[in-house]
Structures are given as C-alpha cells and as structure tokens.
C-alpha cells in the first residue's frame, strides 16, 4: 500500500538537528529531500511551505506540527520528519512545545493521496505512546521503523 513509510525515507529524517527555528528546520528537511529525490528548485518548495505556515501554523498540538504544501514544482509526494530535542517553544500560549515535525510536499494533482496521508499522519500522531517512542528513537533508522510498524 502507498503509505507514509514508503514516502518517508530514512535519509529525510532529522534527529535533533542543530537548527532551532522552524523556517531553518523546514529548509533543512527540504534540503535532505533534494538529496534523495530530484527537486528542481528546493528554495521555491521551502517558500511554498513557509507561505502556507504564515497563513496559520500547522502546530496540531501534542508537540507535533504537520507543515505541508502542494506545488507544481514537484512530480511526486514526499515526506520528511524531524525530531527536535529539546522541543521548540514557538507555538501559541498553552500549547506543548514542538518535538515532532512531519513535512509533506507534493504535486497539485495528488489531492486524494495528500488527504489520505495527512489524515493518517494526524491519526498516528494522536497516539501518545507512539509519540513517546518517536521522541526516544535512537536514530533515523529506528524512527523510520517505528513509523512503518505503526502504519502497518
């Protein structure tokens, strides 16, 4: 089945990156995507994601954010993830600081797939035990394995 585990490559999982700003972390995630998949203009992809984030943060609570964008710059849907420790305290008052970021970018003609993947991501991240496991993952490989196992 075409799911999150297939779209999220271990090379695109950042474990505790040194960047401490959302914009820089998203930039780094797209940079990693561009290392494993051809992205004609990574800077424009970052711009599309940040433009969307500027409208309204995709901080969904529970210490998770799911920034996303669809753009004609891509021909396939890609997912990257970042585990941030210590968590980023950049969200609205009262919300848990962000420790898990899942970035999804893809072409405009895959709306159905995006809907499925975003719904599934939101569902998986709702599970506190799963979030705890991701937050304790030793490395990108283990993080990826946890996502694949949870997804089934």
């Amino acid at each position: 089945m075409d799911g999150i585990g297939k779209r999220l490559l271990p090379e695109c999982i950042l474990i505790d990156p040194k960047e401490r700003e959302m914009e820089l972390i998203i930039g780094k995630m797209v940079e990693h995507m561009a290392m494993v998949k051809t992205i004609a203009n990574p800077a424009l992809v970052v711009h599309a994601v940040l433009k969307r984030e500027a409208l309204c943060s995709t901080d969904v609570g529970f210490g998770c954010a799911i920034p996303h964008a669809h753009t004609s710059l891509l021909d396939t849907t890609l997912i990257a993830a970042a585990r941030i420790s210590p968590p980023l305290d950049i969200s609205e008052t009262g919300k848990t600081p962000i420790s898990l970021i899942f970035l999804m970018v893809g072409p405009e003609d895959q709306a159905g797939l995006h809907l499925k993947l975003l719904s599934k991501l939101a569902r998986l991240l709702h599970d506190s035990e799963f979030r705890d496991k991701l937050n304790s993952a030793r490395d990108a490989k283990e993080f990826h394995k946890l996502v694949c196992l949870k997804e089934g």
């Binding site: 089945m1 409208l55 996303h68 709306a111 809907l115 975003l118 089934g152």
Partner: protein, 169 residues
C-alpha cells in the same frame, strides 16, 4: 443455474489497489454477465477532520475538495474506459460524505449483491479498524464482499480477456 451475482459495485479511491479491484470486477462482470457500477466517494468527513485538527484552513479544504472531485471524475472515466475495452458497460457514481455510509446506502438503494474492494490495511487495534474506511466498508456492507489483493494474476486475467473495442488493444 442462475448466476450468483447480478449487480456489482466496485469502490474506487484513486489507489492502484482500487484500480486493480476494478479490473477484477470487469473480468467477473464479463463472465457472469452482471452489471457493474464504480463509485468514488469524496471523503468530506476526512476533509472536515483536518480542518478541525488545524492541519487545513477552510480555503485549503475547498481547494482539496475541488481537486479530489477532479480526481474522482478522472478515475471513474478511466474505469469506464477499461470496461469499454472489454465490452463491459461501467456505470459511474460520484458521491460525497462519509465513505462507508455512502457505499452502504448505495448498496441498499440499488440492490447491489457484491461489493468489490482493493487492499485492506493491517489492523493493529480496534481504533485502526474503526478509522480505516476500507475496513469499515468491508465490515458494514449489507452484501457479500470480494477483497482483491494486488497481484499480477488480476492483470493477466484482464489482459488475456479479448478486447471488444474496434482497433482496441
């Protein structure tokens, strides 16, 4: 002896598994001389859930809905073409709402006697089961259900069935 199934319904969601299921349904309908309908449900519940979870803005919900409706038309036309290629008329239905409810309603209103589905996901918990649309459809359908696993046999069956379209391949 009468044929066991007369009205089949195949559920399409744009996945490869659902297209494979459509091919299997076309082969079956051809053999059993049954009527085939393909249904695509725009999952407005999932869209609304993403708005509630603040993953989508209202404007994105509208954009995605429009795009998914476009996907629905494209996939339904594709299955219609596949059917025409094999001499099977495929009726199409585009609907919106909660997927398993829409499919169930269509089955009851149209006396469908076989629902054909693509892959079923692995279930780890009761919660997974409740949230997977395909699984809910399988469990709540008021008629027999055929689950088509993705494999080459279906493609071979479809490809080896003679084409009906003039000049078709």
């Amino acid at each position: 002896m009468t044929e066991p199934f007369h009205r089949m319904l195949v559920y399409l969601d744009g996945s490869e598994a659902s297209v494979t299921a459509s091919m299997a349904a076309i082969v079956l309908c051809k053999r059993l001389e049954a009527q085939l309908t393909a249904i695509y449900v725009v999952n407005t519940r999932a869209l609304q859930d993403l708005v509630k979870a603040r993953i989508f803005l209202d404007v994105e919900e509208r954009e995605y809905r429009r795009d998914i409706e476009g996907d629905a038309d494209r996939y339904l036309r594709h299955v219609q073409r596949l059917g025409r290629q094999k001499g099977v008329e495929v009726l199409t239905v585009k609907s919106s709402g909660t997927v398993h409810t829409e499919v169930r309603n269509h089955i009851m209103e149209n006396k469908v006697d076989l629902l054909v589905l693509g892959g079923i996901s692995q279930i780890h918990s009761r919660r997974d089961e409740l949230l997977s649309e395909t699984d809910r459809m399988m469990r709540t359908a008021p008629c027999p259900v055929l689950v088509v696993r993705e494999n080459d046999t279906i493609w071979d069956m479809f490809e080896t069935m003679p084409d009906m379209e003039a000049g078709g391949q």
